[in-house]
């Protein structure tokens, strides 16, 4: 996409946005107050509802969380956006059909531990890495 943009820049410089000016239509970008920005939402995984408490000792379930929301220009400071995400959201405004918006995804994941019995009544405590979303952001 960047290469295509460069070619077009050479051919039609007048189509290009000024470095210090927002592209055409950009000034009119309206951010609705009701827009759901990229943030963390709770998602509870219940071992109890799975009927697994005969072998899972602890926990009965855990808050896994998920990331959801829009990564639309301008990316708010609270969206924890990467530089690339900011650029991508700008390019998306110019070429919405070919470049998607930045993605709302986990930026930090932590581990969770599960204590359970195996078939021989041995007890296993297993740490599962990257199972709990600690924070979300635009990528």
């Amino acid at each position: 996409a960047a290469k295509q943009l460069k070619k077009r820049q050479q051919k039609k410089p007048s189509d290009l946005p000024h470095p210090n000016k927002l592209p055409e239509g950009f000034d009119h970008v309206h951010i609705s107050e009701g827009r759901r920005v990229c943030k963390r939402h709770e998602l509870y995984v219940s071992f109890r509802d799975l009927g697994w408490l005969d072998w899972v000792i602890a926990p009965q379930g855990y808050s896994a969380y998920y990331c959801e929301g829009e990564c639309a220009f301008p990316l708010d400071s609270c969206m924890n956006a990467t530089n690339h995400a900011i650029l991508q959201s700008l390019v998306h405004l110019m070429k919405p059909d070919s470049v998607p918006k930045a993605c709302c995804a986990p930026t930090k994941l932590s581990a969770t531990s599960v204590l359970y019995y195996d078939n021989n009544n041995n007890v296993i405590l297993k740490k599962h890495r990257n199972m709990v979303v600690k924070s979300c952001g635009c990528h």
Binding site: R36, H41, E42, L43, Y44, V45, S46, F47, D49, L50, W52, D54, W55, I57, A58, P59, G61, Y66, E68, S110, A111, T112, S113, V114, L115, Y116, Y117, D118, N119, N120, N121, N122, V123, I124, L125, K126, K127, H128, R129, M131, K134
Partner: protein
């Protein structure tokens, strides 16, 4: 994506909600089990009169780990050296914080050479380590045995308790043994004794057929053999919450590879 009732979305979601078929539910459960590193749902026998010492210890460990995960401060804690009786929650340290898996093993077999036999007296234990997780290596292993106050000895008398790996058994002479750990305690002490048996567990994982178990000896400072039971050491006949068990700490040697499904 559809969600079952076991995935509870507490806030607004754009997930499409629909009723899952039985097959889809089973597939989702299988997927979660796979993430947990399990090929299927474990089916433990119902725990009527099963030993509960190991599950209680592991639950204690779980609570300690879970609170550390909450605080997100899993690194940089050193493991205290365990030379005395531990009656409190297990100490967390680098071994624990670096472990991906901790597994407790129930004592399968117990043999005694007690007062009905010739000296020296001993007690043997055996653990089945064949069900260990794939792709993980042992970082530490402990053998835990509960000691009551010894009634047969003076409370302030020192006892040497040593634990050995049984290397080879012979019909006409004593077994070949490898000493793993030794502790000096007072006869009047009570609580859990913890012995380092990492070397043995590594041997058994490499060669499961050489797993002949552990042997425990108790001696006085002047070398007299003491029957472990009379020294207050509890075996399989002890209360369920005080039965001996083994704990092994594993570290993942590689990232699990996701199998295409």
């Amino acid at each position: 994506l559809a969600t079952g009732s076991f995935l509870k979305n507490h806030l607004h979601s754009s997930f499409i909600q629909r009723k899952l078929s039985g097959r889809e539910k089973r597939e989702i459960q299988k997927e979660i089990l796979s993430i947990l590193g399990l090929s299927g749902r474990p089916r433990p026998p119902s725990g009527g009169k099963l030993p509960s010492a190991a599950p209680l210890f592991m639950l204690d460990l779980y609570h300690a780990v879970a609170s550390e995960e909450e605080e997100d401060g899993m690194h940089g804690v050193s493991r205290p050296v365990q030379t005395s009786l531990s009656t409190q929650s297990p100490p967390l340290g680098t071994v624990m914080s670096e472990a991906d898996t901790v597994m407790s093993f129930v004592n399968m077999v117990e043999h005694d050479r007690d007062t009905f036999y010739q000296k020296p007296y001993w007690k043997e234990f055996k653990f089945d380590l064949t069900q260990i997780p794939l792709g993980e290596s042992v970082t530490a292993a402990d053998f835990r045995i509960y000691k009551m106050r010894s009634s047969a000895h003076h409370f302030n008398k020192t006892l040497h308790i040593s634990i050995y790996e049984i290397i080879k058994e012979h019909t006409n002479r004593e077994s070949d043994l490898l000493r793993l750990d030794l502790q000096d305690i007072l006869a009047g002490d009570e609580g859990w004794l913890v012995f380092d048996v990492t070397v043995a567990s590594n041997h058994w994982l490499l060669n499961p057929k050489y797993n002949l178990g552990l042997r425990l000896y108790v001696e006085t400072p002047d070398g007299h053999s003491v029957e472990p039971g009379s020294a207050g050491l509890l075996g399989r006949r002890g209360p369920r919450s005080k039965q001996p068990f083994m704990v092994t700490f594993f570290q993942a040697s590689q990232s699990p590879i996701r199998i295409t499904r």
